[in-house]
């Protein structure tokens, strides 16, 4: 069995054009996340975009988002405001 896989290393193989001015993923209501026990977003997100802060809230590093759309529907409380990045921004696959 593999130990914990370093997702940051995997993500570093992907080219992004980060939109510094406009985060395309946001939490609707942080209180909902605090009440969510399972926090599946920490796991199912293939880019590891969702991280837990020491205070127990969710931090979104939208810059590394692969735009798959899993969190739009995977969040059991529909607590994510989801959109694609603006045109030209975001993931830019070299191989795909």
């Amino acid at each position: 069995m593999v130990g914990s896989v370093n997702i940051d290393e995997k993500i570093s193989s992907v080219k992004f054009f980060v939109d510094e001015e406009y985060p395309h993923l946001r939490i609707k209501d942080e209180k909902v996340c605090l009440k969510c026990n399972e926090k599946p977003c920490l796991n199912f997100c293939p880019a590891g975009v969702y991280r837990l802060t020491e205070e127990g809230s969710i931090l979104i590093s939208y810059q590394a988002c692969l735009e798959c759309g899993s969190c739009r529907i995977g969040c059991p409380f529909e607590n994510i405001i989801w959109s694609y990045p603006r045109g030209g921004f975001g993931v830019n696959y070299k191989f795909g």
């Binding site: 193989s13 599946p40 796991n43 899993s70 603006r86 045109g87 696959y93 191989f95």
Partner: protein, 438 residues
């Protein structure tokens, strides 16, 4: 007053949108294709294999094209059935290798968009459609995320007689157009993660036994997904390998699993240890596969709008079809658009002929055929866990039966089947598979 005006606006530069655009432009229709990526293909990812038969409909000279957009002809394809201990390989050598090719979408879709440009399709990359223009209940164009000009930062508006949605699996505009009732559910999509891997020079050919003009396309089931419903896949590109796993999003959410850990675990299975030795990850990626099937099929047409490709959920997971169905739906939509243009009527009533065409196609019939497949897989997850073990262990006995009375060997094999699934269970499974298709 809108800023630009086109006969047809297509949203999304994947195979569906591009096929549709090429078909229309060839007939002289003024068509604009809007792509949010920096180029067509930059956001796209698949397993994957492309099929010549569909591509030839839009690029008749394929595969005799330069530059060549695909990777290798598929000369061998099949299944790896993986147990914890080993693998049973079922490989089929193709009589006509020009039928399908492995491909990488950033290159392939980009090539197709170059072809589309040459045929007269206007392409606007780096542009996102954020909304529709409406006239009553009729869609009459799109709103972009770009300002009108340096002096006027209101969003650009483009009017169109018809808008064709080829926006991919995350069908946000299709929802906005009122053609689907809410977002799809986690049990309706497979989340696939994939890596493009570079092996040391010459290693791929040696380790997989593929010479320069040969290619391998393999679906992998069993322990590759840790026995969960889903598949792995392995494709040989020109100088790289595509290797990935796809699992229902619902499974990942329910079991709180990390898809890239499953992927890494699959890579580290003993049967792949040698293959991936010294491999470097050139690119990691993830994508959803729409598997809502016929039950989640959106309404394919509305007033001034049509839906094609992944947005409609046109994939056949059992037969690994997707890009070809996307192309065909694009062609059917183009034919519909063309007759609507001739008639000068873009109401839902006229555009319904797209659905009529679709319902006559094998794509629709196949969706009906596979209507219960998803539920079947969820209900019968032992196909992914028990059967691969059973098959491997039985064959291990069969292939090492020398020096023994064979009746004992056969009895032992039956013993394994009885223990793992039970003879009645196996019989029931076969009947259930039969019932699924007949």
């Amino acid at each position: 007053m809108s800023d630009f005006s086109f006969d047809v606006v297509i949203v999304g530069g994947g195979p569906a949108g591009l096929a549709c655009g090429i078909h229309l432009a060839k007939k002289g229709v003024k068509v604009l294709l809007i792509e949010r990526g920096r180029f067509c293909g930059g956001k796209n990812l698949f397993g994957g294999v492309i099929y010549s038969e569909s591509l030839k409909e839009i690029v008749p000279e394929f595969p005799k094209v330069d530059p060549f957009p695909a990777e290798r002809p598929v000369t061998e394809e099949g299944y790896f059935i993986v147990s914890k201990e080993g693998v049973v390989k079922i490989l089929h050598t193709k009589k006509t290798p020009e039928e399908s090719f492995t491909a990488l979408r950033a290159k392939f879709d980009n090539w197709l968009s170059e072809y589309a440009l040459k045929k007269g399709v206007f392409i606007a990359p780096k542009t996102k459609v954020v909304d529709f223009l409406w006239k009553g209940s009729q869609i009459t164009g799109v709103v972009l995320d770009r300002p009108k000009s340096f002096q006027d930062d209101r969003p650009t508006e483009i009017s169109a007689k018809l808008v064709i949605l080829a926006e991919g699996v995350n069908r946000v505009l299709t929802e906005k157009a009122g053609l689907v009732y809410g977002p799809f559910k986690p049990e309706e999509v497979v989340l696939a993660v994939k890596e493009v891997l570079q092996l040391p020079k010459g290693a791929m050919e040696v380790r997989l036994g593929v010479s320069e003009n040969k290619g391998l396309a393999v679906e992998i089931i069993g322990e590759i997904t840790s026995g969960l419903p889903g598949t792995g896949f392995l494709y040989t590109n020109k100088t790289t390998l595509s290797f990935g796993v796809g699992i229902f999003l619902k499974t990942l959410v329910d079991l709180n699993l990390k898809p890239y850990e499953l992927h890494e675990k699959a890579k580290e299975h003993s049967i792949f240890k040698e293959l991936f030795q010294g491999a470097e990850t050139l690119e990691y990626g993830a994508h959803l596969i729409p598997e809502w099937g016929i039950k989640g099929l959106p309404k394919l047409y509305g007033n001034g709008v049509l839906v094609i490709g992944d947005s409609a959920g046109l994939v056949n997971p059992l037969f690994r079809e997707g890009t070809n169905l996307a192309i065909y739906s694009g062609l059917m939509a183009a034919d519909t658009a063309f007759s609507a243009l001739e008639k000068g009527d873009f109401s839902a009533k006229t555009l319904k002929t797209y659905e009529d065409r679709f319902k006559e196609s094998y794509i629709y019939k196949d969706l009906i055929l596979l209507k219960d497949l998803k539920e079947f897989l969820f209900r019968n997850s032992h196909f992914f866990s028990i059967y691969p073990d059973m098959l491997y262990q039985s064959l291990s006995l069969y292939f090492s039966a020398q020096g023994r009375y064979k009746r004992d060997v056969i009895r032992e094999i039956f013993g394994i089947i009885r223990k793992k699934r039970g003879l009645f269970g196996v019989l029931k499974d076969f009947l259930n598979i039969g019932r699924l298709f007949w």
